[in-house]
Symmetry: C2
Subunit: 216 residues, 2 copies
Amino acid sequence: MTERVTIATWDWVPAGPRGHVRDIRLRWALEEAGVGYDVLSVPFAERGPEHLARQPFAQVPFLAHGDVRLFESGACLLYLADLSGALMPRDAQGRADTLQWLFAALNSVEMVTVPWWYINLRQTTDNPLAKWMGQRFDRLEAVLAGRAWLAMRFTVADIAMVDVLRVPDRLGALDGHPALRDYVARGCARPGFRKALDDQMAHFAAADAARAAATG
Amino acid sequence: MTERVTIATWDWVPAGPRGHVRDIRLRWALEEAGVGYDVLSVPFAERGPEHLARQPFAQVPFLAHGDVRLFESGACLLYLADLSGALMPRDAQGRADTLQWLFAALNSVEMVTVPWWYINLRQTTDNPLAKWMGQRFDRLEAVLAGRAWLAMRFTVADIAMVDVLRVPDRLGALDGHPALRDYVARGCARPGFRKALDDQMAHFAAADAARAAATG
């Protein structure tokens, strides 16, 4: 019924970001929505004019569907939600709830967690964003102590928020927030996430194998 | 034709954030769209359970329209764009362009500018986010050197991006990026922005006057 979607990700990345490259959000949404898709690789090492024409910040992912082209994982999630209907309630308040939590994930929580992580790579003590991040987590903990999913049923907002919280969780920064840890575990236990993660890891493993064969 | 919208902002704030409280984004969109609205004040000093029920991170703005309630300035912008049509193209690619740039403003640019500003308040040299922010500005400069508005015509994406860039501009951080400075100036010259800014300043000035009368 629906035309296939194409998503673009890197042809290869080092071990560290594997499992966290943001195409995981699109893969996850596509699996949950049951929409068929193809994965296109773009060079990680050289990001030329062709790449910048599709993604002006030289990032991935970006998406194509029919004649439509777009970038930004949040915009792609919203586009996919509107395409399939599986990840977005159809009533006005359900849609509003989903939109507000999608933006909360990307503009209130990830706005702190990614710069915190970026600084954390260089200085693990006295991170100037640690207190602010803890305040965000405290507020979100209070919300998720009372519900399984942000908009009451699973939506693209949860795909964004769970993925945003995966890095702090991995680094131990959610240890004082049991509802957040449970929420991340609940999201990551979904078959759609498992499939998306396995596929991303296999994608980069295949790139390693191709390199080894080329130089072997 | 359209029911009036209610937006909530603080009853009072100190001088520093005046003109930058995020209700400015909603006021601006509502002025551009020609949608009638009322402004509700919520206490800045005490953020109790009633506030948290409307905005779980204890922030402003939030919005009500008919029976629908939502928070997050990005979600409110998108809701208003879908409500009026004035700030969102109706063709599929125009909508995709608007979505991608709205998320780019909030998740690729503001994700760096706000933490940079937060650190800048405490340490003005060796800000660990300065280089990253400059890279984002370089990429955006290349885009805005070739067009007046992000999605080719003025949309909610420009309301978000211009407002995101206003603080770095005020702090001199756009000095090496003439296209970005022109873009901010172009956005801020629009009658909708001027009205929104004047109204926000008057809102807080009225709060000062009320306080002076109460203690005078």
